[in-house]
């Protein structure tokens, strides 16, 4: 990353191909104030999730220990003290009815949230690239078939199908993987459309025609000539899809279809907090605001990437 940051923003108007190379893209991103802020926040969030055990250790807590002594059993097991039991030992308070530390659960929940969102987005990306490239480069039969298939996938009521699938698959199947597969399986179609459209434009370019004249195979054309040109739009779209997947995961967990307890997840925290909003608002606000911040940050990053990749907005 440091090399990318150090790379000079060239004064010459870059050719489209040059501008779309990742290091240049990153450098342009860094040059924008919004991009800089989003990038820093994303790195911090990812670090917080990776370092969840270390940070919980700093606080002196872990996500699964019950603290009955911090609850008032006579009033429904609500946390003792104000603001959901916030104290020097429990930085964001404790969970009602169990007394588990909210700060630790939030950090460990971030792991599930980011992991599933990243996995699902990656899955969407790979499937979308594969279908989009094949449709864009194949003959009209292949294109027609794959495009109708993409339309079909877009038309599916994905939420209902996700709920049904999550309820049907046995509990023994690893839940985070299942969530990734389902979110990817229902979310690849828009990526495929974008990739197909870009491919149809790129394949008419002179350098692609030249490669074909030299006798390059379709595979080679796809990998060496078309794919590099897809980086900018695809990276941008992916960065915008990630927060969507994050919200989808939280939604499914909220419905009780996500990872199983005691593994913490934000959706689950929101779900169990929903009845407590009047008596323990802290418990509701903490996971809600964290999710909001995360989604905003990733959306901001995507938006900044989109602007950085747009040749018309190049700052000279």
């Amino acid at each position: 990353m440091s090399t990318a940051i150090a790379a000079p923003t060239d004064a010459q108007a870059p050719s489209a191909d040059e501008a779309d190379k990742p290091p240049v893209l990153l450098a342009r991103l860094w040059a924008r104030p919004g991009g800089k802020a989003a990038l820093v926040l994303v790195v911090l969030l990812v670090l917080a999730a990776i370092l969840a055990p270390v940070l919980s250790g700093l606080e002196g807590q872990d996500p699964n220990t019950y603290h009955d002594e911090l609850l008032n059993s006579a009033t429904g097991g609500s946390p003792l003290g104000s603001f959901g039991g916030i104290s020097s030992a429990h930085w964001l308070g404790v969970e009602p009815t169990t007394g588990r530390d909210v700060f630790s659960r939030l950090l460990y929940g971030a792991r599930i949230s980011l992991m599933v969102a990243a996995g699902a987005t990656l899955g969407q990306l790979l499937l979308g690239l594969l279908v989009g490239l094949a449709a864009g480069l194949g003959n009209r039969w292949i294109d027609g078939l794959l495009s109708r298939f993409t339309d079909l996938a877009l038309a599916l009521p994905s939420l209902f199908f996700s709920i049904a699938l999550l309820a049907v698959v046995p509990q023994t199947f690893p839940r985070p993987l299942l969530l990734c597969l389902i979110l990817a399986g229902f979310g690849w179609a828009s990526t495929a459309r974008i990739v197909r459209a870009e491919t149809l434009v790129l394949r008419e370019r002179d350098y692609v025609a030249a490669a074909r004249l030299y006798g390059a195979s379709t595979w080679r054309v796809a990998l060496r000539e078309i794919l590099p040109g897809l980086v900018a739009p695809v990276v941008t779209y992916t960065a915008l899809a990630l927060p969507g997947n994050m919200v989808a995961e939280a939604g499914l967990s909220f419905l009780g279809l996500g990872v199983q307890p005691p593994t913490p997840s934000w959706g689950q925290m929101l779900s169990s907090a929903s009845t407590w909003f009047e008596v323990d608002p802290t418990y509701v606000l903490v996971p809600s605001l964290t999710l909001l911040l995360c989604v905003l940050t990733f959306t901001g990053l995507g938006e900044a990437l989109r602007k950085a990749a747009d040749p018309r907005s190049v700052t000279r």
């Binding site: 019950y66 429904g76 097991g77 169990t98 307890p261 005691p262």
Partner: protein
Amino acid sequence: MPRRIRLAAAAVGLTALVGSLTAACGGSSSTSSAAAFDAANCTGGTLQVLDQATEDTGLDPAELYTSGGGAIPRLLFRTLTTRDTTAGADGRTVVPDLATDTGEPSANATVWTYHLKSGLKYADGQAITSADIKYGVERSFSSELAGGPPYLRDWLIGGETYQGPYGANPDLASITTPNATTIVFHLRKSEGDFPYLAAETQFAPVPKAEDTGKNYNADPVSSGPYTIQNFTKGKDLILTRNTYWSKSTDSQRLACPDTIDISFGLSATVIDQRLAASVGQDADAITTDTDVDAATLAKAAVQPSLKARLTSGNFPDTTYLAFNTTKAPFNNILVREAFSYAVDRTALVNAEGGSQLATALTTFTPPSIGAAYHPYDYFPAGATGNAAKAKQLLAQAGYPNGLTVQLAYDNNDPQDAAALQQAYAKAGITLKLNPIDDSSYDSVVTNTTTEPALSLFGWGADWPSGAPFLTPIFDGRDIVQGGGNFNLAQYDDPAVEKQIDQINQITDFTKAQQAWGDLDAQLGKLALDVPLYTANDVVLHGSSVKNTYVDQWRGWYDISSVSVK
């Protein structure tokens, strides 16, 4: 064979109840509305009922599985006996309803005779006869009307082969009706608890001429204070007065509201929030099947007006950790004892919503069952578990480095499993969580071939007595191969079976309960399960509803007593 229930029980002065079923005073102290309730001047208005139940199988007295006649069914169906309509411990006693007394037993309690009161009429003006009650019981044997409790088939002579009144042999000879007001039941074994069973809806009269078989559930003939005006299954039920019902023959139903409007299929959260807000029609509302949640209790703690509308009561039930003693490592009593010592009941009670909603339990029978509760604590775990003692027992059992086992639980209720997991970790026991889907949980756990080694289960009594509480769980003859087995320990001891038979011959209810309590205290030593807690029922009602109390037989509002005037 009572149901798996999460219903209710406890907070009422636990120790005061011990051995005092009949002695306990029946003083009603539960009216929580501001204006005084006057039973002589309570009629009028429309009561709203907000329920989770969908009632999409209808209201056929043969198909209903109730405890003590249920809430709404009891407004439509009168039975030979019924529960005493009063607050406090007396609500657990059985009293006559259609009959003049609770039954005359023969010396060994195998023949039970009932005489009907005079002047009993259906909602269409016809007289109720003993033949109608016999017909009602006979219908419940028909396979197309299955669903009720299984006791009748087990108890009545010829019950195991009888196929109901629609087939080739329509008559069940073990029920005789010498005249229009007398009915006699001949049992194949002694059953001192027969009057308690006679409170269930299978003992409601059904006029043979009006029987529409499978379709009877949409519009049954009423013998109670109300009759069906409009019934949309899964949606709502509107009840209006049965003009032929008379208070002079019915001392157990006040029937204050003129109309009762019941909404089905609401979510628990919606019911709680509507009752708490108590706006408009909801001020006249109650629920017959929804407890408040923990957050509402926390809110009530700082809101006296809400707290005044909370009512609590008991349903005798137990949530416990069930060992399959035919499977390792639970065939070893030392392991079972270690699990009993290591349990953290405080975490479980809090996970259920704190001390108002659950009470820790070290006995299988809960205190709310009355005289059949004999306190014992053979493996004292203290409030939060004795991990050191558990480790020592595990070492003795050959597990010096602890052990790993799977815990099966209903995935709709993960909070207990998570609480157990963290407590057992302290004793070196790793619980691997095995969530099973709610829809198949019972069928997996109660099937002897698929029963896990360790599972979370609950048990509630069909009537407040030790018999339906202990027999299905500990009688070896009740180990049903295939599905529907509730003896989860698969415990089979002929000496205990003989003891059970002897207790069933006792017709003095209090003496019988003492004997059941002794049996529970004796079985407790074997650590066949770990009793965890008994759930308490805390319910909310709208601000204009009067004479609300939770009946101690079922742990829900007695809908036949409340008033909205």
